[in-house]
């Protein structure tokens, strides 16, 4: 009996040990025993002889104000970029998994874009639209050809904020109504009207921002109705019925919220909402500042993933691979309402930015970046979901194509934001050579939205780096 008991004990111990060993193999794969290495890149950055980080930081503090925040305890002095990589003042290479906030779409200093910009800068930088120039016309035509339905009148501006301001103006003029509806957790800009649409308190200053209502965010991860689009859409109907005159100016939403932490709208949401809004006399605005230009992989525009056609589409960021450029595309009916007064943008549609924008469309097409985003994106998301299996701290992996979010939580049930851990991991990733972004109201979401030339090897590197960093927490 004693022998049987000791045999049993030993076999249980052995089983435990084996189990632990297997467990350790899964948690501590070879990738996490040593820090992963950046994929190779055949490029030498130019020699940098300018001011170093400390000097630049001093000047920033003195001349750019204390409100100008930056990433990292020891901020990074980025002096050069090439495709999906950035270089600091010591020549160290980093994988840019954030693309200057989803802005560098084709790749830093992409040769074709450079060519277009430089050639045009030598010919004519600026004359305004009071004279003709082919660049703005060609670019408008090319952009319009990418839009569905009757969306074909293009207004060029200089930023996403300006684009959303204009869209809001159009909505109010066209509908003759005042009230706008936006989603909680949205970001649409920082000027006087767009700050009203923006719905994250850290970005809202204490100034009047009238006639805008924020509805329940159709957030599948944190939203009170999970992925049930119908219940979320009902909140909009309720607001219109009880909180407005019954008529509204319009509705605006990002298809995947950017600043808000890569939150995808519950499936089917926009279809329901667009219907409700139009019945109430309003127009539907799709903010494609981050999701546009093929980034989501299966479609060129984010709104296409929800099977809708908006009345107005706004865009910026990726449109020019970093050039200060924005645009609003709408229908001739809505555009005609704007024709009652003069609406003019001095820099908007200038030859250099238009040439750059046209080059971007060409590159995205030629290099088949949209499909690339779908392929690399699903590979990335697949690997991140595997990682989620092994690390409790990863509460959610979401997104589409190369617009991905990773939410870190201290408790998977409570979904308590793991703010401190996110901050630590953020720094660790930088040390390992990966630059990601941060988002969400609590700053606990990693935003992985790289230049669209990002490869599967780059994706693996990001995941391995994350794996390594998390296991060292």
């Amino acid at each position: 009996m004693a022998l049987q008991r000791s045999l049993l004990k030993r076999s249980v111990e052995a089983a435990k040990a084996k189990c632990l060993y297997n467990l350790s193999l899964r948690c501590f794969s070879s990738a996490t025993l040593t820090p992963p290495e950046l994929p190779p890149f055949d490029y030498e950055p130019k020699l940098y002889k300018g001011p170093l980080a400390d000097e630049v930081l001093e000047k920033r503090k003195k001349f750019l104000g204390s409100s100008l925040f930056y990433y990292y305890q020891k901020p990074l002095n980025i002096v050069e970029g090439k495709m999906q990589y950035l270089f600091d003042d010591s020549g160290k290479r980093y994988l840019d998994a954030f693309a200057g906030i989803v802005t560098v779409s084709c790749g830093h200093c992409h040769p074709e874009i450079l060519d277009a910009i430089i050639e045009q800068s030598k010919l004519l930088q600026h004359a305004t639209t009071i004279y003709l120039h082919h660049a703005i016309a060609d670019f408008a035509e090319a952009l319009a050809s990418k839009m569905p339905g009757n969306l074909k009148v293009v207004y060029f501006v200089n930023s996403g904020t300006e684009a959303n301001e204009l869209a809001m103006l159009m909505a109010r003029l066209y509908s003759g109504n005042l009230g706008m509806i936006a989603l909680r957790n949205a970001y649409h800009g920082g000027s006087s009207s767009t700050i009203g649409l923006t719905a994250l308190n850290t970005w809202k200053y204490s100034i009047p921002q009238g006639e805008i209502h924020h509805v329940i965010n159709p957030d599948p991860y944190r939203g009170v109705f999970g992925s049930d689009a119908n219940l979320y859409a009902k909140d909009i109907q309720d607001h219109i019925d009880y909180g407005s005159s019954g008529k509204v100016a319009g509705f605006i939403a990002e298809t995947i919220q950017g600043v808000g932490g890569a939150v995808e709208l519950a499936p089917g949401y926009l279809k329901l909402v667009y219907d409700i809004i139009r019945k109430a006399g309003g127009v539907c605005i799709a903010d494609e500042v981050q999701t546009g230009f093929g980034r989501t992989g299966n479609h060129f525009w984010g709104f296409e993933t929800q099977g809708v056609i908006p009345d107005i589409v706004t865009m910026a960021k990726g449109i020019g691979n970093g050039l200060p450029l924005g645009a609003v595309v709408t229908t001739p009916e809505i555009a005609n309402v704007m024709a009652q007064k003069i609406q003019f943008n001095t820099f908007g549609g200038n030859p250099v930015c238009s040439s750059g924008g046209l080059a971007v469309l060409r590159v995205l097409d030629k290099e088949k970046r949209q499909k690339h985003c779908a392929d690399v994106g699903s590979h990335l998301i697949g690997r991140l979901r595997e990682l989620q299996q092994r690390h409790e701290i990863i509460g959610d992996v979401r997104g589409r194509g190369l617009m991905v979010g990773l939410e870190l939580v201290a408790d998977r049930k409570e979904k308590t934001p793991a703010k401190a851990e996110t901050a630590v991991l953020f720094e660790k990733l930088r040390e390992l050579g990966v630059l990601v972004g941060k988002g969400g109201l609590h700053g606990n979401v990693f935003r992985i939205k790289p230049p669209m030339c990002f490869t599967k090897d780059d994706a693996d590197f990001v995941v391995d780096a994350l794996d390594y960093a998390i296991s060292k927490l």
Binding site: F63, Y70, N77, V153, S191, T202, P208, E211
Partner: protein, 514 residues
């Protein structure tokens, strides 16, 4: 070589030009003055004369319709020579572009001229159309191109930086934004040394208005009738010309009487106008305001200089009401006014916030707000972020612009050439009844056309005609004012005396035939 090759297109143009203006219409309308035609013709034939000496001849000659046809080509002033030939243009023609604009761009997008100009290239103060024809750019892309189109130093800075890094955002460090902010701050008086970069004048003014409202905790802002500050929600409120204001809610802005020396009810009495601001504060607000915003010389409004003494008086009222004074230097800044670097300096005031754009980058999309550290502090209450603002390429260009302005002494140049040009325009005013007023400072000048000097009736139709003629003769000017009857002359600051003469001579000829 340039003069010879370029004068022929100009000359070839003339027959069409004469036909289109319909000489028969002019016969009998203007009182003929004696002209020493044949003498001049003989003296001038075969001689390579200088434009300015020619113009002096012109101002004394009479016009005789019949004899003009004989040798009209000697009457057309010659553009100053320019040692540059653009490469041939193989792109879409004006018609193709116009059709695409109609198909794909805003229906409210207007353009100048009956036959809009297809501008394909620029070099310093000149522009070239699709046929390689050169024009004197006296509008500067709306007071925007300050150093000159494709100025080599600015292009070099842009190209160099574009090859390194276009964009990364201020989340990371980069020296370009820091160096430019430092250089810009050094150009401002007082404690104005914290810079926020935006992408346009509208964004800059929006931010300035928000800062004022946050700093004071008040909402009311006072701006001037006839002002232009932008087209976003708050800036459209501050803008004060109905053509630019859509029928949407624009709250919290009060528009004061415009201290317009030419049309204003109090003439040049700055203090009388300033009382209107005090009245607005006393009766239209709680007594405390967020601030006051104005251009030192109204641009879109038609180059209206604020009556002397106005700004100091108003700044005083605003400060007493706890408000901040915002100087919109989008057009008047960057040495354009000649006498000073900033327009507000000519009025002897120091604002609390200065906004700028247009000339700041010689045409690159860039804007900025400069204020004191104390006021800048308000933005720390939340996050204000501008994705493109302060990007390496635009800030590198901005720094290059400041260096060019200094190295080429463009401020002094604007003062000298501007004063000369203004003098010649005033002489022209003595000659033609239609010129109601000549005003402005440095290379920010306005010429107001009226059909009646007493009533100051805007010459809305005549100005279109003159503008077309001037373009046909190779001069591009701008137009402004509520009635659209004011020429705006805001060229690149490399504009020379010869250019000034050419401009005036062309205007002279046109008006002489009206």
């Amino acid at each position: 070589i340039c003069v010879a090759s370029l004068s022929s297109p100009v000359l070839q143009y003339c027959p069409a030009f004469w036909e289109s203006t319909g000489d028969s219409r002019d016969i009998g309308q203007s009182s003929p003055i004696k002209m020493q035609r044949f003498a001049i013709k003989r003296a001038l034939s075969g001689i390579d004369f200088q434009p300015w000496s020619f113009s002096r001849c012109l101002s004394q000659v009479a016009r005789n319709e019949a004899s003009l046809h004989e040798n009209h080509d000697v009457l057309i002033p010659k553009m100053p020579p320019f040692d540059f030939s653009p490469p041939p243009y193989n792109g879409p023609s004006a018609d193709v572009i116009l059709q695409k604009r109609k198909d794909y761009l805003s229906p409210s997008m207007f353009y100048f001229y009956k036959n809009p100009l297809n501008v394909v290239e620029g070099k310093m103060q000149y522009l070239f159309d699709e046929r390689g024809r050169r024009y004197l750019d006296a509008f500067g892309g709306i007071a925007t191109v300050c150093c000159g189109h494709c100025h080599p130093d600015v292009v070099e800075a842009i190209v160099k930086q574009t090859n390194r890094l276009q964009h990364s955002t201020i989340l990371y460090l980069n020296h370009a934004i820091a160096d430019f902010a430092e250089a810009l701050a050094s150009k401002l008086p007082g404690d104005l040394k914290v810079v926020f970069f935006t992408n346009s004048g509208t964004e800059a003014n929006e931010l300035a208005m928000m800062i004022a409202r946050l700093y004071t905790g008040c909402h009311d802002i006072i701006s001037l009738r006839n002002a232009y500050h932008g087209n976003a929600a708050a800036t459209m409120g501050a803008t004060a010309q109905c053509n630019w204001k859509f029928n949407i809610v624009q709250s919290g802005v009060h528009h004061a009487l415009n201290p317009d020396p030419y049309r204003g009810v109090f003439g040049s009495d700055g203090e009388k106008y300033a009382k209107d601001v005090q009245d607005l504060i006393d009766f239209g607000t709680s007594g405390s305001v967020a601030g006051f915003i104005s251009e030192a010389i109204q641009g879109v409004g038609g180059i209206i200089e604020l009556a002397p003494g106005y700004l100091p008086a108003v700044y005083s009222s605003i400060k007493k009401a706890g408000g901040l004074c915002i100087a919109d230097e989008v057009q008047a800044g960057f040495a354009r006014t000649g006498s000073h670097f900033w327009g507000f300096e000519a009025h002897g005031v120091v604002p609390d916030i200065v906004t700028m754009a247009k000339g700041i980058g010689n045409g690159i999309p860039l804007g900025a707000v400069v204020t004191t550290p104390e006021i800048a502090e308000v933005l720390t209450r939340r996050n204000y972020f501008n994705t493109f603002g302060g990007n390496p390429v635009c800030t590198a260009a901005g720094l290059a612009v400041l260096n060019v302005i200094e190295r080429e002494r463009l401020q002094e140049h604007a003062h000298v050439v501007g004063s000369y040009l203004k003098e010649r325009l005033i002489a022209l005013k003595d000659k033609y009844e239609i010129i109601g007023d000549v005003r402005g400072r440095g290379l920010m000048l306005g010429v107001e056309l009226v059909t009646d000097r007493q009533l100051k009736t805007p010459a809305k139709v005549e100005i279109m005609h003159v503008m077309e003629q001037m373009k046909d003769m190779g001069v591009l000017v701008g137009k402004g004012g509520f009635y659209g009857n004011i020429f705006r002359i805001t060229p690149p600051l490399c504009f020379t005396k010869e250019d000034a003469d050419f401009l005036v001579d062309v205007m002279d000829i046109t008006m002489s035939k009206m």
